[in-house]
């Protein structure tokens, strides 16, 4: 299957597709090698399992090799590789009878869609009190804490964050990779962020990083 991004890369770099080739394309390995760690990290994020991530990397590379003639713009190799990996992962999920879960955030938690961590911190002003209240709240989290909260976000809402925030793709590129309209991508990005905010607050309260006024009242 050829994704929108894969096709776009081919077309964009291949306007007209006529005329004599001036120089041979760089070797596949030369183009892809720089992105291997990023690709593995992305596959690990997609699958959440080291063995599945390894299988996905290999499947993605095999597909990329077969489709390499379609890549005429090496500077876009990373997006092209990630699009192929996303497709391969989607096929893997289908083969296993698991579709990407897109349950409404409202269904998961009616209050989560409107939750604002910024607002909650302002209102709760949790202990320890600080002049830099909002930023100090974030400093309470170690890497393990952030990973735990981030990993708990619904996959369909987490992926847009992974692609845009972690890997630096534009929303337009991420939407093409996930084969969804830009508006849907923005909506999922928003929902993912809301789950992240709610998750950070709940985690902080549950693990004693802060004492909320609600806790004080009990």
């Amino acid at each position: 299957m050829t994704s929108t991004v894969e096709a776009t890369v081919s077309r964009a770099a291949h306007p007209g597709a006529t005329g004599a080739a001036t120089e041979p394309p760089p070797a596949f390995a030369q183009i892809v090698r720089d992105h291997l760690d990023g690709l593995y990290g992305y596959c690990f994020r997609l699958t959440g399992d080291p063995a599945d991530a390894e299988d996905l990397v290999q499947e993605s590379l095999l597909r990329a090799m077969r489709a390499y003639d379609g890549l005429r713009d090496p500077s876009r190799a990373k997006g092209w590789m990630f699009a192929i990996a996303t497709n391969a992962w989607r096929d893997l999920m289908r083969a296993r009878g698991r579709e990407l879960r897109t349950t409404s955030l409202d269904d998961l938690d009616p209050e989560a869609g409107e939750f604002s961590l910024f607002q909650t911190l302002t209102i709760e002003d949790p202990f320890p009190y600080s002049d830099e209240l909002h930023l100090d709240f974030l400093r309470l989290f170690r890497d393990d804490d952030v990973r735990a909260v981030f990993g708990s976000i619904t996959a369909a809402f987490r992926l847009p964050i992974v692609l845009t925030v972690v890997h630096g793709f534009s929303c337009k590129e991420a939407a093409a990779m996930l084969e969804i309209p830009l508006g849907t991508l923005l909506s999922r990005l928003h929902r993912g962020r809301k789950q992240l905010e709610r998750g950070l607050w709940d985690y902080a309260v549950a693990n004693g990083l802060v004492t909320s006024t609600e806790e004080d009242r009990r």
């Binding site: 390995a29 910024f118 534009s170």
Partner: protein, 85 residues
């Protein structure tokens, strides 16, 4: 003029530089009149950086065994390309 709710919806896309010209103008016009959203934008920027930095620090590198298998794959590809040439 957009309201705070819409401004918050656009915040991360703004930080990603993924908004079109008109939505950016509307968003920035809102910021000029809303101190609260300026504060939330700053907070969103730090939250976003926290997620990205955490991932960068803890992203697993490709295991050496897998890298070896991948290099074999590359070598096979080169061989077959030379064979076709």
């Amino acid at each position: 003029m957009i309201d705070c709710r819409e401004a918050v919806r656009r915040m991360w896309a703004y930080l990603d530089r993924s908004l079109g010209d008109e939505p950016v103008e509307e968003f920035e016009a809102h910021l000029e009149t809303c101190q609260r959203c300026c504060g939330e934008l700053e907070f969103s920027r730090h939250l976003r950086d926290m997620v990205a930095d955490t991932d960068q620090r803890s992203a697993p590198a490709m295991p050496p065994e897998l890298r070896s298998r991948v290099e074999l794959l590359f070598a096979d590809a080169e061989t077959s390309t030379e064979g076709r040439a």
